[in-house]
Amino acid sequence: DGHASNPAIIYDLGGKFDKSFNESAFNGAQRWAEENSSAFAEFEITSDAQREQAIRRFAEDGNSPIVMAGFSWATALEVVAPDYPDTDFVVIDVSWINMPNVRAIGFKEQEGSYLVGMMAATASESGVVSFVGGMDIPLIRRFACGYAQGAMAANPDATIIANMTGTTPAAWNDPVKGSELTLAQISQGSDVVFAAAGGTGVGVLQTAADEGILSIGVDANQNYLHPGQVLTSMLKRVDNVVYDSFSNKGDLEAGIFVLGVESGAVGYSLDEFNAELVSDDMKAAVDAASAEMVAGTLVVHDYMSDETCPALEF
């Protein structure tokens, strides 16, 4: 019946409304549901022990595809997927699982970050731009590293300050600390700050707005949060991935897919809230860079490939 073949989505520990990719994933699912007036199943886990339980639960209920947001799902999925060969699984932020019924999707965050890094360095008057990360994990360093490379590309003399909020999952949800980090960065001269920090980013953007500097949002389009004060947002279209997975249920292609600028999965946002901030020159430069990325003439270094960054020291 209709219900049984519903797609399902399972969020990671941060929860559905993390203002980050869980929320983005939810938005994609929501969009699909509205457009098709269908329902989908969803679940927020609260402990790691629930991962397998959650996947199996949906698989046994006949949901397909089952979309999982976050790399932490990888281990559980590797165990469960072979037990349900007829179910399609999609796992986001994972680029290493190769199974016949798993579609693993990674993003080239470094590319999107590179683009907003260019914009930041161009918009900066002081020549100092900064980055606030959430939890200090390789994935977030990939953002930071791409951002730094982009900033250096636009202004070889640029100074890039990068701070991580913390090393525990609490770092995704500490806007107060995000705000303090931003202030510290401003005092070091930064006038554009990029937050890749989940809920912590709310504090970063708020403080940037209060202090009259520019900020850059992440994952979803956050330009609307402080109109005229958010330079742009680094888009990571988790929502599109979810939307596409739901839309193509039944004939999802298994394998590993790493999506970058070429597919529009990462990029920057431009809308009425930041139109005045993005000059035509800036836009032209950034678009040129993305064209080079698509063409393969510009390769942004991926921190996770070798855990080093040419443009930034951690």
Binding site: N163, G166, V176, S179, E180, L183, V202, G203, G212, L225
Partner: protein, 387 residues
């Protein structure tokens, strides 16, 4: 470190210290009256949520502040009912209140705003914004170019929200209430010898309830400060253990208002340092000196004492030494250099360690190496007349 950095560090310390200070003074009133309160955290959290939610809905931050104080006082009264009226265990009641607030804020926030347990971001008019003093510069970038005096005035003196100034005023006010008024005398007495207060014809119950209500009010302001002044809205668990740190500061301050200011500023400084200098590099030699120095000091302290001291402190010394040696040889082998050259190598201190420093410092303070703190004599004990 240039002057402006120091000013900023001071500025951030004050900002970080204010919620600690308010919570610490809240605990001070409660504990001075003999009621221990580890529920400061929960009360702040509840107040943070309610004040943000009400500020958002009403559009007035003052109404929000009042509502935040209200919820915090309600929780205080529950703590009072448990520990004063029913003479329950004050620690347990406090723990329950912490859980209650942690859970209920999210449940209600979700039911109310459906944003995953947070409130919507507050518009500027529903927040406590920084007060700019006459002539003060407000933008960071302007300040950086200003003269040192101006920097101090603009950054350190001006620009805080009204709650910061209010919080600082609470210190002399608390001191004055405690030591210069009838109420203060009675309050201090009831934490030391409730039976003396009782036989002097004063109601112990009423006095202790007044104390926990004051505690609630101050916690309420602290919570509102977090969600409507520092931040523009509530996020789950946003108090981030400040209630517990405040308790430690209270012990450090030996239950005295002025000392509390000092203690909270010190802890505030720790947080400010953690935030600003999370990337600390040290030469291996200094790590060795520091860790092995501590180990040696502990060992020297322990040998003159009993077996248990030798075991525990000796064990700790071994761990410290092992960490030091691991850092040394680890650096040597990682960089492929001789172990003596490795001594002059700089390594990054793990950020986890830097972030643990405030907590470590609390433990060191509690260890009493900074002087013995004697709590109010009747503290933590319910007043029982009839067994």
């Amino acid at each position: 470190m240039d002057f402006f950095t120091i000013v900023q560090l001071g500025d951030a310390s004050v900002r970080m210290a204010i919620p600690l200070l308010l919570a610490c003074l809240a605990g001070l009133f409660s504990e001075r009256a003999g009621i221990f309160d580890i529920g400061l955290e929960g009360k702040m959290l509840a107040a943070a949520f309610v004040s943000a939610a009400v500020s958002y809905t009403s559009g007035s931050v003052w109404v929000g502040l009042l509502a935040g104080i209200g919820i915090s006082v309600v929780l205080s009264i529950i703590h009072g009912i448990a520990s004063i009226t029913f003479r329950g265990n004050q620690l347990i009641s406090g723990v329950a209140i912490n859980f209650f607030a942690a859970g209920l804020t999210v449940v209600i926030a979700q039911g109310w705003f459906a944003q995953g347990g947070r409130t919507p971001s507050l518009p500027s008019e529903a927040r406590f914004n920084g007060l700019d003093f006459p002539g003060a510069l407000s933008r960071m970038r302007d300040k950086m170019q200003a003269s040192p005096g101006m920097q101090f005035y603009s950054e350190f003196v001006s620009g805080h929200s009204i709650l910061v100034y209010l919080g600082l005023l609470t210190v002399p006010l608390s001191w004055w209430i405690l030591y210069r008024t009838r109420f203060g005398l009675r309050l201090r007495a009831v934490g030391e010898a409730p039976e003396a207060v009782d036989t002097a014809g004063i109601s112990v119950v009423r006095l202790r309830f007044s104390a926990v209500i004051i505690c609630g009010i101050l916690c309420g302001i602290a919570g509102a400060y977090l969600s409507t002044a520092v931040q523009a809205g509530f996020t789950k668990d946003m108090t981030a253990n400040r209630g517990f740190i405040a308790l430690a500061a209270l012990i450090f301050a030996k239950w005295r208002p002025w000392y509390a200011l000092g203690a909270c500023l010190l802890f505030g400084l720790f947080f400010a340092i953690d935030i600003r200098f999370s990337n600390i590099q040290l030469q291996v030699i200094w790590i060795m000196v520091l860790l092995i120095g501590c180990a040696a000091a502990l060992t020297i302290y322990a040998v003159k004492r009993e077996k248990i001291d030798v075991i525990v402190l000796g064990g700790l010394s071994l761990v410290l030494t092992a960490v030091a040696l691991t850092a040394w040889f680890g650096t040597a082998s990682a960089d492929g250099i001789g172990i003596f050259t490795a001594l002059w190598e700089t390594v990054k201190i793990p950020s986890q360690l830097i972030q643990s420093l405030p907590y470590l410092f609390v433990v060191i303070v509690l260890a009493g190496f900074v002087g013995k703190a004697i709590p109010p004599r009747a503290g933590g004990q319910p007043y029982v007349k009839e067994r």
